[in-house]
Symmetry: C2
Subunit: 171 residues, 2 copies
């Protein structure tokens, strides 16, 4: 077993001064490390039935599509406003300073479908919670939110209390 933390590169002051960014590109570039990360994400799902994997733009797309194929599920991208071409639902959410929003195609999830939400990082939880709201507005049932990394000191888990939330790496 590899220590996947060895494949996360620490970048100080990115994208702005004071932020310590965790770069997953060394993990993506290494086939054994990314294979193990995929397997650990699949282990978190623990055999539960999943109809759709929702991946959050854009680093959630990397493992989102891999999870979908390996879980025999469809894949649904959630994107920044204006990127999805068909009719969408939009969910605004709070940032540290100001607001942002995410969109999902209105036909992406059918009522009662079992949904796994995936992103690379759980930080403040605002993004993941907005995606949970979008999925539930479409009638989807959230089975789990999973992440490669969790920045525990940002307490993102508090916003996801109603859901099962797991991550491969904790900081």
């Amino acid at each position: 077993m590899l220590d996947l933390e060895d494949y996360i590169r620490i970048i100080p002051d990115f994208p702005k001064p004071g932020v310590v960014f965790k770069d997953i590109t060394p993990l993506l570039a290494d086939k054994e490390a990314s294979g193990q990360c995929l397997q650990e994400l699949l282990n978190l799902v623990n055999g539960q039935k999943i109809d759709k994997v929702v991946g959050i733009e854009s680093r959630g797309f990397f493992f989102g599509m891999l999870l979908a194929q390996n879980l025999n599920a469809g894949f649904v991208p959630v994107r920044k406003p204006g990127k999805l071409p068909y009719t969408t639902l939009l969910e605004p959410y709070q940032l540290e300073y100001g607001m942002d929003a995410l969109e999902i195609h209105e036909d992406a999830i059918s009522k009662g479908e079992k949904v796994l939400i995936h992103d690379d990082v759980l930080a403040t939880g605002g993004t993941a919670k907005a995606v949970c709201n979008l999925v539930e507005k479409l009638g989807g049932e959230i089975v789990q939110c999973n992440f490669i990394m969790e920045l525990s000191f940002l307490d993102g888990r508090d916003k996801l209390k109603r859901y099962d939330a797991f991550s491969v790496l904790q900081y």
Copy 2:
């Protein structure tokens, strides 16, 4: 065998009037269709050895990572300027009106590595050619460029003459 064209949704006037957008989200949402698309992309590679799959932001990320795992290769994202956190090479390229640019991490590819470049659509070829330039500046050897769709009327293939370029669907 499914007809994958049935899973491409035609959206008139997106992202701007006069453009007919081909939406791959129905393909992503269907596990059989996306599984078949992956297999057809793998068939295009035809068993050639690949060290790194380069996926172009952001719709090239969907199948890029799947291709990498299935080819036992690493994955490298090429992104819009300012998105990659480590030291990058930047390649400007011409758009129909104006300029754009793409970046790659300078340590993403080692000299002599065999590279597959993947994106969802081959249109004018400007984006794919810029990525070929980045890969070659890092010393990578381009084995193939492959795409889900090719918009043949835009002659993108002319810009990729020096390379093997293939697509699953032709329009």
